[in-house]
Amino acid sequence: MQPIVQVEDVHKSFDKTPILKGVSFKIEEGDLVSLIGPSGCGKSTLLRCLNGLEVLDSGRVEICGVAMERKPSTPAGPLADVAHKLRRNVGMVFQSFNLLPHKTLIQNVMLAPRVVKGTARDEAAGLAEKLLKKVGLGEQVDRYPLNLSGGQQQRGAIARALAMAPKVMLYDEPTSALDPIVVDEVLDVMKELDREGMTQIVVTHEMRFARDASDYIVFMDKGEIIEISDEDEIFQNPRDPRTRQFLHRFL
């Protein structure tokens, strides 16, 4: 079977500073992959390139058969349409949740299906309630984000992304802004999704989660993928000295 995510030789620079220097990897359907590495290594940028939030300079990203491809020094314009098409299958969760503060939790979850897919109000509400219950927020549907804890907001953000029925979920440091005490409630939701067969890519500093939940781990440094390893192996026996040095603190 063809991999659900294929990344080939992706380059990206900001103001002539190269951030991604030719990144390639593949992910099979249903895998949970952790993307780790020191700050500034390019892992968040890579994640944002996957759904077109950042426009790649060159290379190729294919998700669920939709491919964004750009040759070096060609215009970025044509990529916008493809990115929009590609995002149909890709959900994303951010470090800062980014729920809409002026809408209740359920309105937050209902908005995208209503606006983008034109789903009927009742249907969207039913779906939203089901998803919020699934992430453990069945009691909080009518509350505003500001009245929820960080963990609750992040679970709400996951429900919001799931409402668009994605096949791949991207997480950009989903627990970095959370109190340690509520980190697990978010990670548990992600583990639950993994059991259901969702393909998930997680940029994280949560090494315990990376080790416990991931199918494998991608380690990046200075814009390059250094090592792709089995989750146990990388922690017990990192191959590359840079990986060893980074993981040293967590071992």
Partner: protein, 509 residues
Amino acid sequence: MTRLALIVVLLIWSVATAFAQPAQTTPAGALPQLRYGGALSSGAPYTFRDPGDPNKIIGFEVDIMNTLAERLGYRPVFVNNDWASLIPGLDTGLYDLVINGLEITSAHQAAADFSIPYYITFGQIVIRRGDPPLDNLAALKGKRVGTLQASQMEYVLRAAGNIDVRVYDEEIDVYSDLKLGRNDASVMDFPIAVYYAKPDRALEFTGDPIGRIEYGIALKKGAHPDLLANINSALSTMLADGTMHRILDRWALWTQMMAQATGDARSMLAQPIDYDRFVEATEPTTWRGQLERYMRFLPQLGWAAVATVQISVLSMVLAVAFGVVLALCRVYGGVVLDRIAQVYIEAIRGTPLLIQLLFIYYGLPKIGLQLDPYVAGVLALGLNYAAYEAENYRAGLLAIPRHQMEAAIALNMTERQSLRYVVIPQAARIVVPPTTNDFISLLKDSSLVSVISLVELTKTYELLSTTYYDYFGTGLLVGAIYLLLGLPFVRLARWAERHLSRGMTRASS
């Protein structure tokens, strides 16, 4: 969005019905209209609101026009305009002719066609009662003398040299400053002196007649030679058969110069009933009489307030809508749209609203774009305020974290959808207070539309206070009305702010 559209439609409808001319259900064979322009603010005895009944417009020029129109087979219709804009109003087709104390001077003749004089008069020196008399222009040298701006007398006084000439827009202000000792004398057209100085015990006439002033009827330059010829022949008849003499007698305005010009030496053909009525109606009264007078103002002020609110609300709707577009161009429009919006905003903010208003109404007809005064007023105010609104809204848009937009894009909304459902609703909350501020400001700036012939609250204040010589009580009354007008909108804004802020505070769930 449909609800907003409905509101706009209702607003436009209400304005259209309020300002449409009463349906012209003239029977077949009715006389054609002859629209004559004048400034109600020019006061007595020219064309003014009857102090005894402010719903009626009277004046010796109204009487002349009625007779003239009857003899020419027209139905006269009065159109009010600002005095300084009377001749430009001819060019925009606001009316067919102007009769409002316009002097036949070479400067005026360059701008419009003039009839033969319908009235010949002079400048009257007025001083405080008891001051040493002043015989003529020479005696005014070294003195501070008040007169009306852009009048023939201003020109005469300045040409005399060594006179400290102070110019005013309103005749009663000239006499007011004379009584307060700010000026030493005033020289204005004899009719003004008869109506505003003669009944005043604190003032007296002095000296010889100054200069010779001829009032003529003005028509658009070169546009109506036949009408002009008809007017001239009708005026000649009125001057010859004593009709004009009788009208002027009723208003106590017959002059020696008229006698010479018409060869009519008879002393008095009619009692000065209109003059007496004016003096009686404007005499200082008891506080009870004063209160009754204010009560009579109320209907007129009420309609003026409606005009002010309608102009302001429509302008604000335009300003908000266009302001949003400009702000979106600036923040999300890319280089070209951003630059265009920026140039527009700077150009509008950098030039006075008054000039924009005059330009749109009197300037644009030059390039074939002739607008109704109401449309021009709303357009000028709306386009002007849009520039300020745009900057408010830009600040609002920039205050929304970039992450909010990204989250919406990641949910596969288009940029348009993200703006509409995510960014703009949040920015709206932020911009409610400054927008309210601007609306209150617009409510007051709407008074500027009086320069393009619209009558609203401030203009009505001017008319009433100059008619009754009472800036004080009328001022308090009009001030109170402005304050009351603003209040509902302040309340509305508070409600909107609360409504939009749901979820923005931790306590509000």
